[in-house]
């Protein structure tokens, strides 16, 4: 256990920005999905599940394929 903790601490400068970027992308996609009601395909629930549960690829897919026109 101690070993794992050490592993986490030494790599913290990498983990923090990585988590921030992933969460940031996820939030941006989530806010967009909640504010707009038109999607190219799928419905709101589908996109929220995709954005929340598929890391990186989920929000990316939403922005590229799911985002409807304003």
């Amino acid at each position: 256990m101690n070993n794992h903790w050490q592993l986490l601490m030494t790599n913290l400068p990498l983990f923090i920005p990585l988590v921030l970027l992933e969460v940031g992308l996820m939030l941006a996609a989530l806010i967009h999905a909640l504010r707009h009601s038109h999607y190219r395909f799928g419905n709101r629930v589908f996109w929220i599940v995709v954005i929340l549960f598929i890391q990186i690829v989920g929000p990316l897919t939403y922005f590229v394929f799911g985002r409807g026109e304003n």
């Binding site: 400068p13 990498l14 922005f63």
Partner: protein, 255 residues
Amino acid sequence: MRILTIMFEKELVETWRTYRFLTLITFFLILALMSPLVAKLTPTIIKLSLNDTLNLQLPQPTAFDSWKQFYKGITQLGILVTAILFAGTMSQELSKNTLVNLVTKGLPRWTIVLSKYFSLLLQWTVALSLSLFVTWGYTAYYFPAKITPTAVLAGFLPLLLFGIFLLALILFGSTLGQNNYGGLLIPLFITVILYLINLVKQLHNYNPLSLIGDNLAILQGTKPLSQLLPGMLVAIAASLFLLGGTVVLLNHRKI
């Protein structure tokens, strides 16, 4: 020239509002952060998965492992995501008829092509350079090795130049194709052909694909950058040809 600047600004606003630039830069930064992390954690992961039953002596990861991950990530996933994001650059405007008003008011069609190309080029350069500096910083921090800045930049230059070719290809495909898939399928088709040409050893240095294949060798100093000069020239010549082709295609196309 003034029209070109205005169209260029329009492209930049568009890429911001459609979240393309945001997505591209976030993805590239994630790739850049993953490279040193994966290089650093690989021995630990192997040890954990083998459950300490084998007493393996794994070599310590080095700065080169980190750079290897960087070039692997960018040249595979990075290029794929770039192509997916930008595949609709021209075809979307054509299918939605958003260019009709501008063209009928007398906008020269070549300015559309050039403004789009320059905006793609700017986005590629910014995203790629940022990810380079991130990986560079972390690699220098975690793996103290004597890699000169010249070597790092020499390994990076071909990748940056490959973008000139790639983006011209995407724009060409996007104009030629009737739908969004054209921008993806045509670059894919050309890449397959280039990989087949790559089987001929004598042509390797002339092949634009060597620009994304030999980065690590240049970084390590086992291959001089000057050997890739033919490949770079071919890539630039091909991009000019493709851009000219795109203008001709658009001129003959019913908008």
